[in-house]
Amino acid sequence: MHNQDQALIFESSTPDRIGYSLPEMDVQELDLHSLLPEGYLREEEANLPEVSELDIMRHYTALSKRNHGLDSGFYPLGSCTMKYNPKINENVARFNGFAHLHPLQDESSVQGALELLYDLQQHLIEITGMDEVTLQPAAGAHGEWTGLMLIRAFHEANGDLNRTKVIVPDSAHGTNPASATIAGFDTITVKSTDQGLVDLEDLRRVVGEDTAALMLTNPNTLGLFEEHILEIAEIVHDAGGKIYYDGANLNAVLSKARPGDMGFDVVHLNLHKTFTGPHGGGGPGSGPVGVKADLIPFLPKPIISKRGDEFVLDYDRPQSIGRVKPFYGNFGINVRAYTYIRSMGPDGLKAVTEYAVLNANYMMRRLAEHYDLPFDKHCKHEFVLSGKRQKKLGVRTLDIAKRLLDFGYHPPTIYFPLNVEECIMIEPTETESKETLDSFVDIMIQIAKEAEENPEVVQEAPHTTVVGRLDETTAARKPILKYQKA
């Protein structure tokens, strides 16, 4: 152990110390051997830590200090929509009547929860321009897979059994092709033009009788709006396919353009992005799916419906693809998203997109002199730069990202999308002030200068973090995936 290492909780463990307070044992205790089949009473105890309550709080407080969250500083991570996570959401999700409900209670005893979910569905229907919404998927990728399974069920119900291919642009999120595979489809890639948009000629070439769907993000991962969206929809629809909207970038078009009006048949949303469910260090998220009328019969069951004044879980859906998750989705995240939508209202949501787009364009313009800008046109909520110029000086995009850590920033998304060399993808969001954007841009400009004048300081960054660059090669070659007593 290095003297600067943060102890693992197992290294702080001392036999016979406890950190719990269990309810009183008020029934007669019998011999455990008599209550279990022979050989099924655990002999060796699970080696969990033995620490006091204060030790635990100190441990996790120390860990939290070694972690950068959105509340710690600017987090312009492209395609992730790292906007402010409102605190009222956290309070509401913790109300006893939401946090401490059992999913299998009688419907009559959870009417408040069902009403909230039903109303959230109605709000999301209006926001997306779709006809119905399911809240069951747990995250974006889960929503993608659910949406593709719906499309598969639709084609199969029409006896259209040869639609085995899903088309994705070369700029698509990695989850798109992976979700297609898990839903039983083959993936075909459609190229982007040098303008960064879907190549219509290439699309015409790849669509056909085997096309099940095209998956698209609009604006795309380059932050550009697919201007030919209606033509794209027509090409795919004429071939008998469906088009799927990856809602990861919805923050760019709230109140400006709805997926349903653009011709999309299925859409998933990331409530943990646009609608402020916190990212939680990697989850939980929530990935509702909206569909047009012809896909409603296939939605996962149950759907939350209203019958008279009563809210019900509707299981009577014979063509449903079935369940995609136990119970009704990540309810706690849905409560947060609902609280956010109700805090913003129609005017607020419109302003969200306007300011998100204004912020992105402002940063892009200020940085355009100092970094290569592969697509020089108005962006939407995010934009991409290329570190090509800096690469010639021996400074890679990875180095620039690491150097940003020294100034207290979380770096942008890097090396994605794959069709831009040394890609730097920046998404500021609407909740950041001009001062924050300016400070970040100033540092990016400073780093561009350092790349010219003092490249080592960038190449060897970070200099101020609790650990330096870590040896990822050894981590993968000789994996240590759990604590091993020295």
Binding site: M57, F98, G263, P278, R342, K350, P411, L470
Partner: protein
């Protein structure tokens, strides 16, 4: 438009538009074709102030019968357990809950180390070599275990015990369709998987057998016998397990399980109307490079300082794209943190003590029901749940119990036609002797 989440001022806006070289924000949207432009405002509810919205939603929440005000005997995969109060204090630290996935390890050591500790504790409880950083929930973890098994064995049939959670089986069937797998259910005899029938079903196309331990009826499955049957046919042995029970039960790893999955909800995670909870996924070393989801590994920096990174990422969707064997990206990191805090608070002694309290109190309740003249169906060794036969529909009984502040057990007739009027009763360490006695009395009165 002024809003507390939107810092933009008119002055800022003017300066920024000038830098961009446009005269209005609208110009920035000129690339959206007229035909798809949304005009006007969403037809949704108007914004409310913080105070008014809190009040409205508090009243809405208050219309639900929650587990704090009522006494719950409802389990069926989701349980009312002791939640150490420190759990919420830790997961409320915004350094954790407002962070993204730890892709920048230098500023994410806290999250990465917490996950590494989570992985370690799951391995300890399950008796397995490797655990990932979490899955959405137990149900999708089970489906992913089936897909891993099919991919690894190159076989297409999944045998799943009918005593596995019905909703988990439903999720499995949906995933199986995507992967062109066949799911065959193994019947139950006397409340446990029928091992004789299982023997007849296992063949060279069977990728895996999945059983639940303790099973949906609370019974302890004969893991030793099941393991012999499936491994003799070179299929995978998958066990879905309530991790709390493993504080007391011999872990599936000791019985030769290849994959152990489940939900860590019993450890400090609110029932939350069914989610978010926290799936876990544990395997033997030989499957390490096939695990779905994120894994955290230990390494060092250039000065020899210990650090943690996301590792073996070549398995994952963002690298493998269409060749990926799972599409999971977001997981349940914050709930894995909650579970870690609870497992840490319980520790070596507490996890066993809590599991034992579940067993003892449930056993006491089972005896009390028998003494009151009820038939306990599928009677035998069990953990914290058991089945009682009623003479009325469970739904009707539960509505009456609720008037007395009791949330009754699960209506097994929903999933098992032969078990209509049968209630699955869960008794956790939270229930007092008095509460148990009251339930027995109230049910007795309704039974008469």
């Amino acid at each position: 438009m002024k809003h507390r989440y939107l810092p933009m001022t008119e002055q800022d806006k003017k300066a920024m538009l000038e830098t961009i070289g446009v005269s209005s924000i609208d110009e920035l949207f000129s690339d959206i074709p007229e035909k798809v432009r949304f005009k006007g405002d969403y037809n949704i509810k108007a914004a409310k102030s913080e105070t008014a919205l809190m009040k409205e939603l508090f009243i809405l929440a208050d219309r639900n019968a929650d587990l704090k005000r009522n006494v719950s005997f409802l389990g069926a995969g989701v349980y009312d357990h002791y939640m150490p109060v420190i759990v919420d204090h830790v997961i409320s630290r915004s350094e954790f809950y407002t962070a993204y996935t730890p892709y920048q390890p230098e500023i994410s050591q806290g999250e990465l180390q917490a996950i590494f500790e989570f992985q370690t504790m799951i391995c300890e409880l399950t008796g397995m070599d490797v655990a990932n950083s979490s899955m959405y929930d137990g149900g999708t973890a089970l489906a992913e275990a089936a897909m891993l098994s099919a991919g690894h064995t190159k076989r297409k049939t999944i045998l799943v015990s009918s005593a596995v959670h019905p909703e988990y089986r439903d999720v499995l069937k949906t995933y199986a369709k995507g992967q062109y797998l066949e799911v065959v259910e193994v019947p139950v005899k006397d409340g446990i998987t029928d091992v004789e029938v299982l023997k007849g079903l296992v063949n060279e196309d069977v990728a895996a057998v999945i059983v639940q331990y303790p099973n949906f009826f609370g019974r302890i499955e004969p893991l030793r016998e099941v393991e012999e049957i499936i491994h003799a046919n070179k299929g995978m042995f998958v066990v879905s397990s309530n991790p709390l029970s493993l504080g007391l039960l011999t872990p599936p790893g000791k019985f030769g399980a290849d994959i152990v999955i489940g939900d860590a909800q019993p450890f400090g995670i609110a029932t939350a109307f069914g989610g978010p909870h926290c799936g876990y996924f544990a395997v033997t070393n030989k499957l390490m490079r096939k695990v779905p989801g994120r894994l955290v590994g230990q390494t060092v920096d250039d000065q020899g300082r210990r650090g943690f990174v996301l590792t073996l990422q070549a398995r994952e969707q963002h690298i493998r794209r269409e060749k990926a064997t799972s599409n999971i990206c977001s997981n349940q990191a914050l709930n894995a943190l909650a579970a870690s805090v609870a497992m840490t608070a319980l520790g070596k002694k507490g996890v066993r003590e809590m599991a034992a309290a579940n067993l003892q109190k449930a056993h006491y309740a089972k005896i009390a029901f028998k003494e009151a003249g009820f038939e306990v169906v599928y009677d035998g060794h069990s953990f914290n749940e058991f089945v009682v036969k009623l003479n009325k529909p469970v739904k009707e009984v539960n509505q009456k119990l609720l008037q007395k502040g009791i949330i009754g057990g699960y209506d097994l007739g929903r999933d098992y036609t032969e078990l209509s009027n049968h209630m699955l009763i869960a008794v956790t360490e939270q229930r007092t002797k008095e509460e148990i006695d009251t339930l027995v009395k109230e049910l007795g009165d309704l039974h008469a």
